[in-house]
C-alpha cells in the first residue's frame, strides 16, 4: 500500500459506513435534537413575549390604579371643601337667625318698656289731675287765707310726698 493508492474496497466500505452513520444519526440524533431545540427556542420566545406583555399589563394597571387614586383624592378634596362650605354656611345661618331673634327680643323689650313707661306717665298724670282737683275743692271749701293757703299747699305737698314715700 502506498500513500495515495486508490482502493475501491476501502472506498465502498467508507461509503457504506458513512451512509449507515448518517441514517442512524439522522433518525435518532439530529432530527429529534433539532426538533427539540426549535421547540425550546419557541418556548423561550413565547415566554419572553409573555413576560413583555405581562410587564406592559402591569404598567397599565399601575397607571390605571394611579389614575383611580388621583381621582379619589380629587373627589375627597371636593367633598371636604364642600362640606366645610356647607358647615360654614349653616353656622352662619344659625348665627344670623340667633342674632335676628335677639334683636327682635331687644326691640320687643324696648317697645314694651316704652309702653309701660307711657302708661305709668299717663297714670301719674291722671293722679296729678285728681289730686289737683282734690286740692282745688278743698281750697274752695275752706276760707283760706293766703298764708293758710300756703300752709295748705305745703301740707298737701308733704302729704303727697309721704304718700309717694308710702307707695
Amino acid at each position: 500500500m502506498d500513500l495515495l493508492t486508490p482502493d475501491l474496497g476501502t472506498y465502498i466500505w467508507s461509503l457504506f459506513i458513512f451512509m449507515t452513520v448518517l441514517f442512524v444519526l439522522k433518525r435518532y440524533a439530529w432530527n429529534p435534537l433539532l426538533d427539540f431545540l426549535e421547540e425550546r427556542e419557541e418556548d423561550i420566545a413565547n415566554s419572553l413575549k409573555m413576560a413583555e406583555s405581562a410587564k406592559s399589563d402591569l404598567e397599565q394597571i399601575k397607571d390605571e390604579s394611579q389614575k383611580i387614586l388621583d381621582q379619589a383624592k380629587k373627589e375627597g378634596k371636593v367633598i371636604v371643601t364642600d362640606s366645610k362650605q356647607k358647615a360654614e354656611d349653616s353656622a352662619n345661618k344659625i348665627l344670623e337667625s340667633a342674632k335676628a331673634k335677639s334683636d327682635e327680643f331687644i326691640v320687643d323689650a324696648k317697645s314694651k318698656i316704652e309702653i309701660e313707661k307711657q302708661r305709668a306717665i299717663k297714670e301719674i298724670k291722671e293722679e296729678v289731675v285728681d289730686l289737683s282737683i282734690d286740692l282745688a275743692s278743698k281750697i274752695l271749701q275752706r276760707n283760706v287765707k293766703d298764708d293758710d293757703n300756703d300752709k295748705f299747699i305745703q301740707s298737701s305737698l308733704d302729704a303727697m310726698n309721704t304718700d309717694e314715700a308710702k307707695s
Binding site: 474496497g9 444519526l25 433539532l34
Partner: protein
C-alpha cells in the same frame, strides 16, 4: 508500529521516511496479515473480480477503524441526545453542552447563512454527520491507542498467547489510525457531498433546470464555450479538493509528528547514545507542540469539510449568487 517494532531492530536514518509513511498508510490486505478474515468477504471479492471490478472487500485496519469510529460517534451522540431530550429537566451535561453548542453554531452560522432559512433543515443532518464523523475520526487518530496495542502485541509474542508474530494486537498497530488520512475514505465523504449538492439543485429546480443553472444565464453566447467547460470541471474539482484537503492535512500532520520523533532514533544511531538523549527533549517538545496544533487542525478540517459542503449545497440552491 512506533516502538513496538523498531526497538528490536537496527535503526538507520534512511528508514525515517519509510517509517513515517508506514505511520499513515492503511494496513495490508494480504490474507495472512489481515485482522478479520471473513469467508463471505473473500467470496464477494472474488465475485467482483469475476465482473472485472478490482474491489477488495477485505477488512483492512482503516475499515476496522471506520467501524470503530462509527460506533463511537453514533454511540456517543445518540446516547447524549436521547438522554438529553428525554430527560425531564432538559439540562445538558458537559459533553451534551459541547455538542449542542456546535450544533447551534453550525445551524446559525453555517447552515442558515449558506443554505438558507427555509431549506437548511433538509441538509442539516448531512452536514452535522459529516462534521462529527470527521471530527471523531481526526481526534481518534491523535490518540495513540493502537501504538500502545502494537507495543503490547510485539512484546507479548514471546508469551504463549501471542505466539505468532502477527498477532491481533500487533497487526492492529500496523499503519496509521487516522482514517481521514486515507484518500479513499475522504473521497467517499466527498462523493456524498458531491451527490448532496447535485441533489440539492435537482430538488429545488428539477433535473434539467439544475444543469442549466451551472452556467450563469445572460452571457453573450460565445462565452458559453468557455464558461460551460469551466463550470463542468469545477463540479468535479470541488469533491476532489475536499478529498485532498482533508487527507493531506491529516497525513501531513502525522508524518511531521513521526519525523520529529525519529530524530531521537537517528541521532542515537548516527551520533551515539548521548546525542539521542540530548535531542530527545527537543523532539518531544516539538511533537507535543505539533500535537496541540493537530488538535486544532482536527477541528478546523472537520469544520471546513462541513462548511464547504454546506456552501456548495447553498450554491446549488441559490443560483443567483
Amino acid at each position: 508500529m512506533i516502538v513496538g517494532e523498531k526497538i528490536t531492530e537496527k535503526w538507520s536514518m534512511d528508514q525515517a521516511a519509510q517509517y513515517a509513511k508506514d505511520h499513515v498508510i492503511d494496513s495490508d490486505k494480504l490474507a495472512e496479515k489481515n485482522i478479520f478474515d471473513f469467508e463471505f468477504l473473500t467470496t464477494l471479492t472474488e465475485k467482483a473480480s469475476a465482473f472485472g471490478l478490482p474491489i477488495d472487500f477485505a477488512i483492512s485496519k482503516h475499515v476496522f477503524l471506520l467501524f470503530f469510529v462509527s460506533f463511537i460517534t453514533v454511540g456517543t451522540i445518540v446516547t447524549l441526545v436521547q438522554s438529553y431530550i428525554s430527560h425531564k429537566k432538559n439540562i445538558p451535561n458537559k459533553f451534551m453542552s459541547m455538542i449542542e453548542m456546535m450544533v447551534v453554531y453550525l445551524r446559525e452560522d453555517v447552515l442558515k447563512t449558506t443554505i438558507g432559512d427555509k431549506e437548511h433543515r433538509d441538509w442539516a443532518p448531512l452536514i452535522y454527520t459529516i462534521f462529527f464523523f470527521v471530527l471523531f475520526s481526526n481526534i481518534l487518530g491523535l490518540i495513540p491507542i493502537f501504538d500502545l496495542s502494537g507495543l503490547i502485541g510485539s512484546l507479548g509474542y514471546k508469551f504463549e498467547i501471542f505466539k505468532e508474530k502477527y498477532n491481533f494486537l500487533y497487526v492492529l498497530s500496523k499503519g496509521g489510525n487516522t482514517v481521514t488520512a486515507n484518500i479513499n475514505v475522504t473521497f467517499a465523504l466527498a462523493t456524498i457531498s458531491f451527490f448532496a449538492f447535485i441533489g440539492a439543485g435537482i430538488k429545488k429546480y428539477g433535473f434539467m433546470q439544475h444543469w442549466k443553472n451551472l452556467a450563469p444565464s445572460g452571457l453573450p453566447w460565445p462565452l458559453y464555450f468557455v464558461v460551460v467547460p469551466i463550470e463542468f470541471m469545477g463540479l468535479f474539482i470541488r469533491p476532489l479538493a475536499l478529498t485532498l484537503r482533508l487527507a493531506g492535512n491529516m497525513m501531513g500532520g502525522h508524518i511531521a509528528l513521526v519525523i520529529f520523533i525519529t530524530f531521537i532514533f537517528s541521532a542515537n544511531a548516527e551520533l551515539g547514545a548521548f546525542a539521542g538523549f540530548a535531542i530527545a527533549p527537543f523532539s518531544v517538545a516539538l511533537a507535543l507542540g505539533l500535537t496541540m496544533l493537530e488538535l486544532l487542525v482536527a477541528v478546523i478540517q472537520a469544520y471546513v469539510f462541513a462548511l464547504l459542503t454546506a456552501v456548495f449545497i447553498g450554491m446549488a440552491i441559490h443560483v443567483d449568487h
